[in-house]
Point group: C2
Chain length 165, copies 2
């Protein structure tokens, strides 16, 4: 191989421990900013980040079962149930008994739930949009590539389960 793209050459400087550390720190700081906007909104409603995550994925896959949501969120059912219970009590989420399998609970957002989800999502998308716009389409493609490689096969499967563009 000529020069660029050759393994072991200068092109591997991006795999330096120092470069990796900067990447780690970038993830740390960016994730903090990433959650800051919805967190502010959630506080007004008396909810936490866990509620946001539940609302997000119920919105993405209306009618998903509790077990599926459990797998997507990666928490215990007790932990999810606490969050889900308040959302149902407050009328943001509706839990319908499954038609084929009556053990299942299929989760849907109510109109009110959709309103909050939209507000949270818009807050988060706002930051994401300006970051995307500032970095440009090619950078965004790279961003997605690295994140997808980082999440590993199991999480990538869940990631792809979500409704695509």
């Amino acid at each position: 191989m000529a020069d660029s793209g050759s393994p072991g050459g200068e092109t591997l400087l991006f795999l330096t421990d120092e470069q990796l550390r900067k990447g780690i720190e970038a993830m740390f700081f960016a994730y903090r900013a990433f959650t800051a906007d919805p967190d502010r909104l959630l506080e007004e409603y008396g909810y936490g980040r866990a509620h946001h995550r539940a609302l997000h994925f119920i919105n993405r896959q209306p009618g998903l079962t509790v077990t599926t949501l459990l797998a997507v969120l990666g928490v215990t059912k007790q932990s999810l149930n606490r969050v889900l219970r308040t959302l149902i009590e407050d009328g943001l989420v509706e839990s319908r008994v499954g038609t084929r399998d009556k053990r299942e609970r299929r989760l849907h957002l109510t109109a009110e739930g959709e309103t909050l989800e939209r507000a949270l999502s818009e807050a988060q998308r706002g930051r994401m949009r300006s970051a995307y716009r500032a970095a440009g389409p090619q950078a965004v493609a790279g961003f997605r590539q690295v994140l997808e490689a980082m999440m590993g096969p199991d999480l990538h499967k869940l990631y792809q389960m979500m409704k695509d563009d």
Copy 2:
């Protein structure tokens, strides 16, 4: 406008709400994987993620003050102090009174602290390295660009304060 590279044309499809949502989910899943490896290690030692973060930044900037670390981590001093106290008691971190300003406590890792930090860092860098390698240098550049744009000016300042490559 023509077609490629023109603002407002098809090249802005990466700013779609659906694209932004996928980016949000990629951050969510990738961050989970990102913390999973060190978390496993930490559990063996009876520490949490907060301890990891403290060790990381003390290692990066040996001799930093508590106030600086507070700003970098974005938590209250009570919260940090609890973590810092256990690390000092366990002999992983040393707190030296400042020479010029004796109010300051300058934080350093002990040899034992460096050992744990290295183990945690290596676990985390391992995943980062394979993601970088899989995605390639151009993708990595885009990844960093988007994250830096996402963190906003305040966090970007802290980010740049950290020792560069």
